[in-house]
Assembly symmetry: C2
Homo-oligomer: 116 residues x 2
DNA sequence: AGATCACTTTAGTAAAAACTAAAATAAAAA
DNA sequence: TTTTTATTTTAGTTTTTACTAAAGTGATCT
């Protein structure tokens, strides 16, 4: 992926972007905040956002701090921020994630079973 | 699909939306303008844009006229329009579509071969 | 009526995307 | 130096999406 607007497609990525919009956050914090995906999945989405230029990373000890780069979206960035400031919109997004979950999830963190 | 921003994900849909942004166009016109997809595929993408509230349809004889509904995108709509007015961006999108084609295509229109 | 035109819908395929589980890396603590 | 913590990467699976081909619908023309 390389196109910033396409990177906004997935609600998951938009949620992550919103989390790091105002302030830096460590990957783990983001994972905990989202709750219903593995750490690996979050890391992968962060990578995509990074490749699209939508976030920047900075190492801090063993943590990695992410922050949004609104410049990458140009005028769309401001528009998006305006939407995010709207509390109703926030509820809507929550509901969306909720209903698009593909089955019961119990906050997985890394791994447990055996497959390969 | 129901989320307008997610509907902007595919470059193809963005291209279609841009075509109907300023003026109404018939489905067939849009198909001819795009060139490298079947009529059916265009019709399907129009349906998605419609479900996301991004376009409105109106029947005119046997044609169906589509037009954009920028309101559906709120402030993002204006931002997007600003981007589209930029000629460089238009070239970029073209190149994107060009390189994401999944094989050689020779302007298919409906059907020809036999499969099922 | 039948033919044709403009378009939609359905069925099936193929490619892309998102995810899980597990292994790998790398800094810091013990 | 071993262990723990934070995160990334890889491999494989499942889900979703975009597409083609072909059949279906309905308005207009003859």
């Amino acid at each position: 992926m390389v196109d910033p607007i396409a990177a906004l497609a997935a609600p998951r990525r938009r949620e992550i972007l919103r989390l790091v919009w105002r302030e830096e956050r460590a990957a783990g914090e983001i994972h905990r905040e989202l709750g219903d995906v593995t750490f690996g999945a979050v890391s992968q989405q962060l990578r995509q956002l990074e490749h699209a230029g939508l976030v920047a990373v900075r190492a801090d000890g063993r943590r990695r701090l992410y922050r949004a780069r609104p410049e990458a979206l140009g005028p769309v960035g401001e528009a998006l921020a305006a939407i995010w400031d709207d509390a109703l919109y926030r509820l809507k997004i929550r509901a969306e994630l909720e209903s698009s979950r593909r089955g019961p999830r119990r906050r997985p963190t890394s791994a447990k079973g055996r497959r390969r």
